[in-house]
């Protein structure tokens, strides 16, 4: 008999108890803790009473991603209509309230971005649930952020089945085989992106995939183009795009779904820094790394070593600071590189880790025009090196202290002094 007076929470609680020690228990537990704060404590180990558990950490990142997601929905529509206008020879002046924040634009975003989000969460959480049930552990919250990142880093017209295959691959091979959340070496969202890139390159690069509708119109009479800025630069066609610096900064440019708006990503990054979720060291050092590499390339062009005929000229002569506001570099630095699981753990290590992410990203962009989007490769590479960096930072620390200990001299006289402290002086 169902008692109508029972609250939903109470019912869920009863259900949970009924399924305790059964095979499906993790699934019910996960659903329960997803909706309500659990009132149970762990049974072993020391207890720390803190509000910032994994769930809250994840939710903070999601909050930082929501503006990006909303913007990307408007931008999806805006780029679609702008490309159609451009194909018809109409030049389009951007106006925030007249032709950007419109229902028409948002509708395109809803129809094309939301399914990506749903597929990403649906497939990813299904696999997490299956693994939790088979292994008999709790469902971890790790996928909440990954599931939100994935739709933001793929081109808008990515077929949903491809996304589903890639998510299944990324979650199983990138995360579950290592032992699930907290044990993975590689960032799962980037593993998914890398899988898509290498498995279906025609859907992940070129000038057709970045604007909604460009693929299905390709070759037809109403064909539209959606080359990204990096794409133009890689082909040495810097003069052919008409995006101003403010377009690049605020994100009114074609690109992967959520990567375009450096402004909103910056706000999200500041939010993550002030809520102490993400490491400012990684972000700052990655920015420095990309600027350094950009400056080196600019210097090479200024020195006259690379002429306009070189295939690297377009990207090398691109102002060094603009690398941060085009393509996925900003998004990668703020949301991907700072992943606490796959990044470096030590403070000094974070500086190295972040620096090389920025440095290598710009290097891949310039030297390999086939992958103007080198950010995900750079972050995955540094993910692999993060434990090595940490190892050497810790070793360096141990060695320094050992040296200090060896060189230390004990002053026996001071033992009679005030407080009778044993004073150790470093030499």
């Amino acid at each position: 008999m169902r008692d109508k007076r029972l609250t939903f929470k109470k019912r869920l609680h009863i259900l949970k108890h009924r399924y305790r020690d059964k095979k499906m228990a993790p699934a019910f537990n996960a659903f329960h803790t997803f909706l309500f704060a659990p009132n149970e404590t762990t049974h072993s180990g020391s207890h720390v009473r803190a509000a910032d558990d994994l769930k809250r950490t994840m939710n903070t990142v999601i909050m930082a991603l929501i503006p990006v997601l909303l913007f990307s929905m408007f931008n999806a529509g805006y780029q679609h209509y702008a490309a159609i206008d451009a194909a018809n020879g109409i030049s389009r002046e951007l106006s925030l309230f007249e032709n950007f924040l419109t229902w028409d634009n948002f509708w395109i975003g809803i129809v094309h971005v939301l399914p990506l989000v749903i597929v990403s969460y649906g497939v990813g959480l299904l696999i997490e649930f299956i693994f939790a049930v088979i292994k008999g552990h709790e469902v971890e919250e790790g996928y909440l952020v990954t599931g939100m990142l994935v739709p933001l880093i793929v081109p808008i017209d990515t077929p949903l089945w491809m996304l589903a295959v890639a998510v299944a691959f990324g979650v199983v091979i990138g995360k579950e085989v290592f032992g699930g959340t907290g044990m993975n070496i590689l960032n799962p969202a980037l593993t998914i992106r890398a899988f898509l890139f290498f498995a279906y390159p025609t859907w992940m690069s070129g000038d057709k995939v970045w604007v909604q509708g460009a693929v299905e119109r390709a070759g037809g009479p109403d064909a539209i183009s959606g080359e990204t800025i990096l794409g133009y630069l890689a082909q040495n066609k810097a003069s052919e795009f008409e995006y101003s610096v403010s377009d690049m900064f605020f994100g009114f440019i074609p690109g992967s779904v959520g990567e375009t708006s450096a402004f909103l990503i910056l706000l999200g990054g500041l939010f993550l820094i002030f809520s102490k979720i993400a490491s400012w060291r990684i972000m700052v050092s990655a920015v420095i790394g990309s600027l350094v590499m950009g400056l080196i390339f600019n210097g090479v062009v200024d020195a006259g070593w690379i002429g306009e005929s070189s295939k690297f000229y377009g990207l090398m002569s691109f102002d060094f600071w603009k690398h941060l506001i085009v393509g996925g570099l900003a998004f990668g630095i703020v949301y991907m590189a700072t992943d606490p699981v796959t990044g470096a753990q030590t403070n000094r290590g974070k500086w190295f880790y972040g620096f090389f992410i920025g440095f290598i990203s710009v290097m891949i962009r310039v030297f390999n025009p086939a992958y103007p989007e080198g950010v995900f490769l750079a972050i995955l590479l540094m993910n692999v090196f993060a434990p090595t960096i940490d190892h050497y930072v810790v070793r360096g620390n141990v060695n320094r202290r050992l040296k200090r200990f060896k060189n230390a001299t004990v002053h026996p006289k001071t033992t009679e002094g005030e407080g009778a402290k044993l004073q150790v002086e470093t030499v």
Partner: protein, 215 residues
């Protein structure tokens, strides 16, 4: 009396599953990664290794009492190199295209860890008949994994099997391709071979828990 005694049967059957050279001993991985993008190449490689290993084991077993142990590695290399050259020449004569696909990997059968391993571990201490069975069994275990990996990589990577399109025509958009299916280009890259081998190991070990090492 059966054709093969129980002990002899296990010589052939063990390497196929519970003592598989690739998935359990993790030997001979390099060639398994390099040439499995096509099923045909996998099959030819499997047959070549079967030939080299079966005959090589017999030759070594026949000579096991006359080989001085100090130079046994050199002798083994000479035996396996001669057999590989035979395979290589036959392939060049009768299947030139295929020998170009396999390129250096036929030559590298010489250094295939499985072959040297079986010479050392088995043929030097057993008679020719049992050595032959052991060689055939291990080569078959190697070949089975190669063929499984080649099957999935060619099917998912190119949509063909033995070069015959089975999923439709990707350019004319027939069959599966008409509903938006696309070949998975990642399957043709070597990292995917490692992952497919890894998945086979995973499946095998979760079916037979005795294979999981304590750590």
């Amino acid at each position: 009396m059966a054709l093969l005694s129980k002990k002899d049967t296990s010589l052939i059957l063990d390497p196929l599953a519970d003592n598989n050279p690739i998935t359990i001993q993790v030997l001979g991985i390099c060639s398994a990664l390099a040439i499995t993008a096509e099923l045909k190449a996998s099959i030819v490689m499997a047959i070549s290794v079967l030939f080299v290993m079966g005959l090589g084991n017999v030759v070594i077993a026949l000579m096991r009492n006359v080989i001085p142990s100090k130079i046994r590695i050199i002798v083994q290399l000479i035996v396996v190199a001669s057999l590989v050259i035979i395979v290589d020449q036959v392939l060049k004569a009768f299947a030139y295209e295929l020998s170009k696909t396999l390129s250096v990997f036929v030559g590298l059968i010489i250094t295939n860890c499985i072959i040297m391993g079986r010479f050392e571990a088995f043929a030097l201490g057993n008679g020719p008949y049992r050595s032959f069975l052991d060689g055939v069994g291990n080569a078959a275990g190697y070949g089975v994994i190669l063929i499984i990996v080649g099957f999935f990589r060619e099917l998912l990577g190119s949509g063909t099997l033995l070069g015959i399109p089975v999923l439709g025509d990707p350019i004319a958009k027939t069959g599966l391709y008409s509903i938006g299916y696309e070949n998975n280009g990642f399957m043709l890259l070597s990292p995917m071979a490692l992952i497919v081998v890894g998945i086979i190991i995973w499946v095998q070990r979760s079916r037979n828990r005795a294979l999981i090492e304590e750590n």
